[in-house]
């Protein structure tokens, strides 16, 4: 048998619970792959090929963050259509990741089943909805990136291959149909009975050149990410733990809806921003929003001439760059330093889950304090559900 890890999360972790002190440690037991070491000595062009392998659930996020970091280092601003294609690929990535999490990892807890495929018997229509969203999100990433996992069409400054307009047209038709499935998913997740929990949550999300926060410091510059999102090493974990300005913060879907105020308005009264379990609903809202965003992007791509120029590196540039983006689970940061031959001399990767780990422990403490009347078994189950609601990506966090 596999050892006692928390099931239905990405990666290997276990909860260490101190029932007397209401304290919880999230022991991360993933082997270290040392990606920041792997990258040193490699070319910048290899980095967006290597870093997707950090995580098979959100490879596109790493792929694009690396390419952005290299372009920042080389002083490259990619063509507009390159940006649009990347936005489309990232939208597909967020849907892929959210769908996998919601239907295969989180939902079984709420429906009294053990695994996602049991839904095919319990609620065949709903299972069909899940599969149709999985399919369309894989197709979006496949169409732009060449493969649903670990894409290979990106290069520094542009694309090695771009999709034919015919493929984009076909994709648009399919995304239109998927919008209905996304709406159903959002309705389903707004109808679930989430466990009660009250936590003074603080959120972070990237916007433009900034990190936005609901805490005391409302915003800071992404280029200062390393000092503001400080990581610390804990002996019980091979993943580091990060805090924003020394505060435990939640990153990801719930944080984005809290900070952006651009989508999910109609569901705002259903969301509870003091309860991390609602991150599930926030992800469902994002799936719906992203099926609409994807259609807009494809529309724009179909109306523009796809610029096939691959912008050339400027070796006179600073050769130090940061690539930041909102990955499915929140702000992702890749930093690359290069030598004059374009060889990587330094790499730093800070993932969303590293930020969330501190908040998971904070919410877990609150949960224990607020459920003292419950039996231990039930509290254990709730703690696991809580960890799942954050959708941690432990292979990302360790990398």
């Amino acid at each position: 048998m596999n050892p006692e890890f928390i099931t239905k999360i990405e990666g290997h972790g276990a909860l260490h619970i101190d029932w007397k002190k209401n304290n919880v440690q999230l022991n991360v037991l993933e082997g270290e792959r040392l990606f920041e070491g792997i990258l040193v000595g490699r070319t910048a062009e290899e980095s967006h090929w290597i870093t997707p392998r950090i995580c098979g659930v959100c490879p596109v996020a790493h792929h694009l963050a690396s390419a952005k970091a290299a372009e920042d280092a080389f002083g490259i601003i990619p063509a507009q259509s390159t940006g649009l294609l990347r936005d489309l690929m990232l939208a597909g990535q967020l849907i892929q990741s959210h769908v996998l999490h919601l239907f295969f990892l989180a939902l079984p807890d709420y429906l009294g089943i053990d695994k996602g495929t049991e839904l095919s018997k319990k609620n065949p229509a709903l299972f069909k909805t899940a599969l149709s969203l999985k399919e369309i999100s894989d197709e979006i990433v496949f169409c732009v990136g060449g493969r649903n996992i670990h894409p290979m069409t990106t290069t520094i400054g542009g694309f090695l291959k771009v999709p034919a307009k015919k493929s984009l047209e076909k994709l648009l038709g399919k995304v239109k149909i998927a919008e209905k499935a996304a709406k159903k998913t959002m309705e389903l997740f707004s109808s679930l009975a989430y466990p009660e929990l009250d936590v003074d949550l603080e959120f972070v999300a990237q916007k433009g050149d900034f990190i936005l926060s609901t805490g005391d410091v409302k915003r800071s510059l992404i280029k200062d990410y390393k000092q503001d999102l400080q990581e610390e090493v804990r002996q019980y974990s091979s993943a580091k733990f990060a805090k924003y300005k020394k505060r435990e913060v939640l990153a990801g879907a719930l944080a984005r809806i809290a900070l952006y105020d651009e989508y999910g308005r109609e569901y705002k009264d259903k969301l509870n921003f003091r309860n991390p379990f609602y991150n599930n609903l926030a992800q469902a809202i994002e799936i719906y929003h992203l099926t609409k965003t994807s259609q807009d992007i494809i529309d724009r791509l179909l109306k523009t001439e796809l610029d096939l120029t691959i912008k050339k590196p400027n070796l006179e540039a600073s050769l130090r760059g940061i690539g930041a983006l909102e990955a499915p689970r929140g702000g992702l940061y890749h930093e690359l330093h290069l030598d004059s031959n374009g060889i990587i001399t330094y790499a730093n990767i800070l993932t969303p889950t590293v930020q969330n780990l501190s908040s998971i422990e904070k919410s877990a403490r609150a949960l224990l304090e607020q459920t003292e009347k419950f039996a231990q078994k039930k509290r254990e189950r709730l703690l696991e559900m809580l960890v799942r609601a954050y959708d941690p990506c432990i292979t990302c966090a360790v990398h």
Binding site: T7, L29, R33, K115, K134, T153
Partner: protein, 252 residues
């Protein structure tokens, strides 16, 4: 008759090959019709002890506990199958050599950190393996072919030709002819040259084909690029192979 029991276990890796199994969608249901998946941490809490008909192993067993788990599954399973390049070749984690790990632990985690990992090695370094499903990640068609063979009671088989054959079928211009490095000629087929078709290089994630002519490829690569780049290509996935250590490394 009860269905054959299958376990899926994951060691240190990106978990993308397991995601590919989920991405089979309706076909995953077909798989469940034929097999009882009795242990799969990523998607279910249900967990049964062995013996198992087969265990699919994803990832490189890099920690002592992972090595122990692998040995347990070997003892309890009629068949052990490697799933993806981390299991079959040590994959991307294999880029860092055992000697270099110490240095990187210090740089990344600081002094005083107690590491969990020992060294990234393929699973066949620890146990007898019955078949390797290659790829980074494994392809969906490949998975279907593998499971169909298994259901039919056949021994899964390797393709004994190189990626080049599939690359020609896809209509790609030859990278080597265009003076771009490529490991296609020595790499086992099965991927349909998906990376080259996407504009990228082939780094050999499917492992070496039978009787690869590595020396001939090295001669060609030496005319195209420098030794450093040749080393980077070969060490992306193949550094833990005997052929790399014996034939390529001494020539770099």
């Amino acid at each position: 008759m009860s269905k054959p029991k299958i376990a899926i276990c994951d060691f240190t890796d990106c978990e993308g090959c397991q995601v590919q199994i989920i991405s089979l969608r309706e076909k995953l249901l077909d798989l469940e019709k034929h097999f009882d998946i009795v242990d799969w941490r990523l998607v279910q809490a249900k967990k049964e002890k062995g013996p198992y008909f087969a265990t699919l192993v994803e990832g490189t067993p890099i920690t002592p506990s992972e090595i122990e788990t692998l040995k347990y599954f070997r003892e309890q399973s009629k068949y052990i199958f490697g799933l993806g390049s981390c299991a079959s070749l040590a994959g991307i984690p294999g880029i860092i050599s055992k000697e270099n790990r110490e240095k990187w632990y210090k740089i990344i985690y600081g002094a005083g950190y107690k590491p969990q990992g020992i060294d990234a090695l393929p699973i066949q370094a620890f146990v007898k393996v019955d078949f390797l499903i290659h790829g980074c990640p494994v392809g969906q068609e490949q998975l279907v072919r593998f499971f169909e063979e298994l259901m039919a009671g056949q021994t899964p088989s390797y393709r004994n030709y190189s990626v080049c054959f599939e690359c020609k079928v896809e209509g790609n211009p030859c990278r080597l002819v265009e003076k771009k490095p490529c490991l296609g000629p020595i790499t086992q087929a099965g991927c349909k040259a998906v990376c080259v078709s996407g504009g990228s290089a082939c780094y050999g994630c499917f492992g070496l084909r039978t009787e690869p002519n590595i020396r001939a490829l090295l001669t060609i690569l030496n005319n195209i690029t420098d030794k450093k780049e040749i080393e980077r290509y070969f060490t992306m996935f193949l550094s833990r192979t005997e052929e790399y250590q014996k034939i390529v490394k001494p020539n770099l």
